[in-house]
Symmetry: C2
Subunit: 660 residues, 2 copies
């Protein structure tokens, strides 16, 4: 055989090709020239056929296709460990989104991606599929690191950290695609975030853009049961058919998660050759569930494995994901023969490449494909001993006993990115220093916010408004029921803005009384006694600063800061977000009206506290002026006289403090 | 403060004490003298108070209590990756038990334990709880490695690799306890394997032994749903109440797995202060399910985390287990706030020590406890950046982003076992060489066995018997039904051993015809036509070697090896164990009798094949002698003549080949 000269010859490895025959060579070799694999086979054969600029001895190592991380958000390395063990909404709306709004800029995306690439190369990943903001910066970092990637620019129906609307995002995405379309490593993509964050118009524009340039379209699909439930409630159909209406699957789609697909939806994806990215760690950590991977694979779908972003994982370790993918199918679908090691390793490599629509480039070690190679030590204590009886044993060793830290060398596109665990394209110490700096800023931002209930509320609330500083109030404990209308008529007062309410109040108390207290109110309002059901229900969040009191003869004046906003989240959300030291509930039925007395507006409430067989009459007013407050305190005394109430039945505390 | 001299001072670490206040020191130190922790606190304070023989700088590291591996079978490192992706019975009866029967001796247990200790020390484990055979050898290796351990000698109701009966095991166990009771690191224990492998008498003896010496009792409980189901079927009660009858929980019990406990069973365990060892990887890999850990913890049970044996994991990585324990509770019980990082780290350390009944010795870093310490790098790329806002962040970093390979130093009982990832007490290369040698022998044993159906069958079958070499048979395809009794009476023959059978035969075929074929027969037998249901059902496994044929005028003589045994497993078991290239089923109704003709015994069968509207008469005999076979072939011809059958209706193949 004539000796051909190549750039690299990897020799004497246990070579796992993942080609269509799943050929394995126990003493195998690969020849690499430029960006491509020239030959694969027994070492003796390749040594006879090729001379090489560099020979890499892989004795006691496995040579495998580099791993394909089918779904991640690379820059989120910078948010790793920022907020854990939280419910999805608290995590997302309370931490991720406020921090992203504040910090996600070009530098964040570039630095975060380089940190991610360092970690991914270290764990044998050669290709990843990303979805984030400022994706051109992600591309710049990826190209610098020398990794192969599909990089999806996120499109959302609402404002995002890099765009004030989706027209801007689409325009950015078009420019991004044009700039990177011919790059040898980076494949730009369109990434509408998910069905529930899209409009039909937005979806159609994304599909048009992806098909115009023949680039992939990356999207989250059916990550949670709630997503499917909401889709059915709103559109009378699950997510895949809803997206299918707008021809989403005509694009080269990569669907992340797919935890809660119906079988018909799987068939739709299969018919359109949609790739699936299974993210087992993230789906457990965020309590989304376990995707039926074996079923999807059996239906013929191409399923890859992804780490998801490091804020929900918290690392980018494909060995962990691969092992977990296999274990979960066995343990949750109650059959230890599901996703055997060989099939699972295929998901992590060639099937991942198929799911990303780039198996003509990568995913297996075959002549003609790009040289994307991981050399993995196979002689660590935790991997030994090794049995050779069963040719499947190499897959078992890879999936069940090998760690990311066993990866020794990594090559992408013919370029060595890591040799003997030294990164060759990334200044790791420099990137870590940059990452620490950004993390310190985020830390300071959140620390300041967390120390202050108002700023913590502002971080998650759009319409917060400050209220009047002074509240003048008196409560009378009634010894017998009163007819409010009759009482007011007798006093010559005309009630207006009358309503019947049921108010469910939850108060959050904190260790530091200076922090103030929060009230979450669910306020069911009937316009009149005749209404059978409430006409409206309001959800309000109120922050009450600590109050200083001034007692008048017949009333009390409270002076304090007070902020009020529509509560956009649930009571449970606020509880988990604020983690109060104590919680107390007050439920009452309230008959409410306003009256004008001597040109001043007073609210008059007849309150029946639940769990207390007691009715209270409350007279209340608010103002910005101390002088006005004093005047109103006097007027409340006059009103009490007109109504004929005794002073000794006055109650000068709030209901919630009464129940203490 | 006067300067006290200590042996070691660990300084400048992020110190996670896991004490009752869960104190964390961001710049913390520990002073160690002899085997004990003398002081824990801020570095400045300890540096002022102590001088040390050795000062270990833990800058950029976390100092944590060493991890507690609450359940393993250490010597099974030597079976790592031997057989994976199999159903539990095939894995256990087909591979683990035959190999253990053949290979588990003193050297196996000593070598396997040292390999396990090397791996465990490398991943920060300082204490483990074991259950295996020849436990004195496990103890010898553990003491050599310098690890702390509870070592349970396995007791089984049937013969085990180290005893022919449980009296022997109990005697061995008593000697083992007496020899090791005073050891500073090894705590001997009694380990009845499980309820389903015990007799009441055996349980009572184990409890008596454990309480006599006040040593722990280690047992598997409710690992699978089947175990609970079988217990209810057999004893009309689930496993815990069954064991409770024999006062098992009066001992200091460590219950491994507990995947399928009812709440009342959890309460029983709680009442008796039984420790639980949760093994998430193993329970997934063997498809047992997910234990309700959060529920057990909330009920007050002390739950530790275990790797289980490396044959069902396949490693001894407590970081993997800990992360998985948290993720599974969140993902499977649909709440991301379950088992938060801090609580999970407690399970891996102090709660593990409580579950093992040794929290007075280990599990937390407090003055007076033994110095069992892991120093873990906290500045790896995959762990960064780090946020300090939330004091819980150190737990999140440990549980969600740290790998076993980040462990840098390990100390047990005041002795350094690993420094800068170098093992100090174990000759790792030597042990690996020993392990490879044993693995090669196992490989050779299994390879030989797998190449040969007979030895593969013998490995899982107790009562296999060789049958006669020659089978003489003829089958007549009947054009019209016959009355067998009438036909024999007319011929002057007296039938005996008559029966009516329904035979469900499954044939396994292999690629190599020289391998022979296997038949699994379910044989329902009625003693007479009058029986409504079968009197008995036999399950038989038959191995038929390739046959050479000799045709006689009226019959065929087959000569071949043939082995027959009671089938102790299911049809499914044999299919998965032998992995045949093809499977064919034959179902038939058989009227059977024997007759004596000219002093020779012949079986006469009237067979109705299912799925073939055809009845066959079969005459058959077997012998060890070629000469006798030829004679019987002649006699069969005579019988056919007496019965009046034509030669052209003869069928000279087996039914299974007919259906080909």
């Amino acid at each position: 055989m004539p000796q051909n000269h190549v750039d690299y010859l990897f020799v004497h490895g246990w070579l796992v090709t993942m080609d269509s025959q799943l050929n394995v060579y126990t003493d195998g070799a690969i020849a690499v020239k430029d960006d491509a694999i020239i030959a694969v086979g027994p070492t003796a054969e390749l040594e006879a056929g090729y001379t090489a600029g560099t020979v890499i001895d892989c004795t006691d190592c496995i040579i495998s296709p580099g791993l394909v991380n089918a779904h991640t958000h690379a820059p989120m390395t910078l948010l790793r460990g920022l907020a854990d063990d939280l419910r999805l909404d608290v995590w997302l709306y309370g931490y991720m989104m406020p921090v992203e709004r504040e910090f996600v800029d070009h530098n964040f995306c570039y630095t975060g991606t380089l940190l991610a690439c360092a970690e991914m190369i270290r764990s044998g990943i050669t290709t990843f599929c990303d979805m984030y903001y400022n994706e051109a910066e992600v591309a710049r970092a990826t190209a610098k690191a020398g990794m192969r990637a599909i990089l999806g620019q996120t499109i959302l129906k609402f404002p995002s950290p890099d765009a004030s609307n989706y027209d801007e995002s689409l325009e950015y995405c078009r420019n991004f695609i044009e700039a990177w379309l011919e790059h040898p490593l980076v494949i730009p993509a369109v990434a509408p975030h998910a069905a529930y964050t899209a409009t039909p118009d937005m979806i159609k524009s994304c599909v048009a853009l992806a098909t115009e340039y023949d680039v992939p379209l990356h999207i989250h699909i059916a990550e949670t049961a709630l997503e499917q439930k909401n889709s059915v409630a709103q559109f009378d159909t699950t997510v895949v058919p809803w997206l299918d209406q707008y021809n989403l699957f005509n694009a080269k789609v990569i669907a992340a998660h797919c935890v809660h697909l119906e079988e018909t939806e799987m068939r739709t994806l299969h018919r359109h050759n949609t790739g699936v990215a299974h993210c087992p760690s993230s789906n457990l950590k965020l309590a989304s569930g376990v995707a039926p991977v074996q079923k999807m694979v059996d239906l013929g779908l191409h399923v890859g494995i992804g780490t998801d972003g490091p804020a929900s994982n918290n690392d980018l370790d494909m060995f962990e994901e691969t092992r977990l993918a296999s274990f979960l199918q066995k343990g949750i679908f109650a059959d230890p023969t599901l996703l055997p090691a060989r099939q699972t390793w295929a998901l992590a490599t060639i099937e991942g490449a198929r799911a990303l629509h780039i198996d003509h480039l990568t995913g297996s070690l075959e002549p003609g494909k790009r040289a994307d190679i991981a050399v993995i030590a196979a002689d660590s204590t935790h991997q030994l001993p090794r049995f050779t009886r069963d040719p499947e044993a190499v897959y078992s060793q890879l999936v069940y006993a090998t760690k990311a830290t066993d990866v020794r060398h990594v090559m992408v596109n013919g370029q060595m990115l890591m040799q003997d665990r030294n990164l060759l394209t990334i200044n790791e110490a420099g990137i870590i220093a940059d990452a620490r700096q950004i993390a310190a800023q985020i830390d300071a931002f959140l620390t300041a916010r967390e120390d202050n209930l108002l700023s913590k509320l502002l971080a998650i609330t759009a319409d917060f408004i400050p209220q009047e500083t002074y509240e003048i109030q008196v409560k009378i404990c009634l010894s017998q029921p009163v007819n409010l209308d009759a009482m007011l008529a007798k006093a010559g007062l005309s009630p207006f803005r009358t309503s019947i309410r049921k108010q469910y109040d939850t108060y959050f108390f904190f260790d530091d009384p200076e922090a103030g207290r929060l009230r979450f109110r669910e306020d069911e309002v009937k316009r009149s006694q005749a209404d059978e059901v409430p006409a409206e229900t309001f959800y309000r969040m109120t922050l009450m600063g600590p109050s200083s009191e001034r007692n008048f003869e017949n009333s009390i004046v409270l002076s304090r800061s007070r902020f009020n906003a529509t509560a956009g989240h649930t009571r449970r959300f606020y509880r988990e977000y604020f983690r109060p030291a104590a919680i107390r509930d007050v439920v009452k039925s309230r008959q409410r009206c306003h009256v004008v007395y001597k040109d001043k507006d007073f609210a008059i409430n007849l309150d029946q506290l639940e769990d207390a067989n007691q009715v209270y009459l409350e007279i209340k007013s608010r103002t910005w002026s101390a002088k006005d407050a004093a005047l109103k305190a006097e007027l409340i005394g006059e009103l009490l006289g007109i109504f004929g109430f005794d002073q000794q039945n006055q109650l000068k505390v709030e209901y919630v403090d009464l129940t203490e």
